[in-house]
Amino acid sequence: MSKEMEFKTIVAQYANVNAEDITNDMKFREDLGFTSLDFMSFLGELEDTFDVELEEENAEGVYTIGDALELLEKLS
């Protein structure tokens, strides 16, 4: 599985959509229905899956799937 697909599979479990249907312009809250806690929990899963370290502050300014992928790329 590609890194991007692995990432989208994690997103999908909170959003109840298929990973394949997730596009980079989708917003976590408005389009995927993430609650604030879903988002925090999701960040924790990113850390464990991709072996990166995130601070809560890193997430400020992350609204879309594309933003989060970019952040992940920067930290990897």
Binding site: Y14, T35, L37, D38, M40, S41, G44, E47
Partner: protein, 526 residues
Amino acid sequence: MLIRELIEESASKFADIKAVKWLEKKDIKERSYKELGENVVLIRKGLKAEGFTNKHIAFVGESSVFWIECFIGVITGSNVSVPLDFGLPTEDLVDLINRSDSEGLFVSLKKKGAIKDILENCPKIKKIWILSDKDDKALDAISKELDGVDGFNEKIEMYSELKKSGVDSEDDSAPTAEKLATIMFTSGTTGKSKGVMLSQENFATNVEAVAYGREPGLIMMSVLPIHHAFSLVMDWFNGLSKGASICINDSLMHMTRNMGIYKPQIMLMVPLMIETIYKQIRAIDESVPKAMVKVKIFGENLDTIFTGGAHLDPFYIEKFKEYGIDIYEGYGMSECSPVISANMPEAHKAGSIGKPVSNAEIKFENGEILVRGTSVMQGYYNMPEETSETLKDGWLHTGDKGYMDEDGFLFINGRVKNLIILSNGENVSPEEIENKLGLTPLVGEIIITGENNGLVAHIFPDRDYAQVKGLSEEDIATELQKIIDEYDSTQPSYKKIVSIVVRKNPFIKNSTRKIKRQEVLVDEPQ
């Protein structure tokens, strides 16, 4: 038994058991009951030695062993604690520190950025203690923040220095049952948060009322903010009374990971947490054995979750049962220290909020739940009018509507007051936010609603203002989004606005020109 005796008894009875565990990077740090008891005494004596008796002392910080030791040090002597929400913007913290007449402040390193403003705007504050044992590193970081502030050195002290002040010092007097222990701020329906005054007896009798039988050494994991009455009483005082090891969750990002590390048996959660965990379970393939799922998600030993703060759909109770986890829903509010009723292992009914606890007497008035008993607050600090509206003849008016079934279980079916209860248990006063945002010239009328666990701002723009400024419909939407983004950037996550609805028409009003909240979604010409 008041909290002072409770801690003294636990420190001697469970001396070698670990009272608190926490993570520093990947290492687990521990504090035994004996050490915790000794530190509490040193802090209490240190406060007295530094001139703090019968003073109000505020707390701004995330859950930590230092926070709880200092908090207990404060309330087991003659002082009064004022635990504040560390997620609040600095201007709100300044306001609450001033309104609570706090003269001392315990603050965590994470909030060091607020110290300068607090020193400059809270004239009563005589001393600030830093909740950290990393003395040199912490002082260095704070000195940088306070560069240019005159005389800060005399006001700032480390946790370890406070303990040193307590060595060979005289102990503070033990409080009486009626003495004020805590002023705890809660969202007010008038838009101004209110300081709930809880006495020593209020706390102590609530701890006794929610007792459940478990053996010393029980592992609990604390995930809720420590400044909330629910966490303080159910996680901390209750846990410490039975010799539990209370493990601190360092971040909501790591809740699942930390359950794997600490392997808790009991946890206290708000419904939002249960909902999020369920999403993780739902995503696991059904062919995976449930025992394996339990290890992966809950860390193997979890058998009980107590929940409260908002209503939980009974669906989750059924689902979690499949993994050997019982969820017990309760009901409470800061004004009742906080538990009013709770489902318990020996008596529970899904969908209800349990039976009233032993020290709470319940009656109904026009459907509203009224409570009387030893855990009901003394009143709101410096707010006689709000106090007399809420406390009448010893009965606390909860603002919730409900009923009791023939078996004595309590159910909630509505609210009397206008307060948004999010499923993370946070109460948000829509008026508070509306008043703030309503000051912006482009915002003509505004109503805040709670939808899908987030706040939504319904705004009717000031059309005259927009015209003068030459703003198109698109510009208006962009400008409003900017206003909301700016507001959000200063707010804790539960007070952030997640979306905006720009209205074409003004809101429907009643005869006194007040907006009809129940019809905010109607957007038609009047």
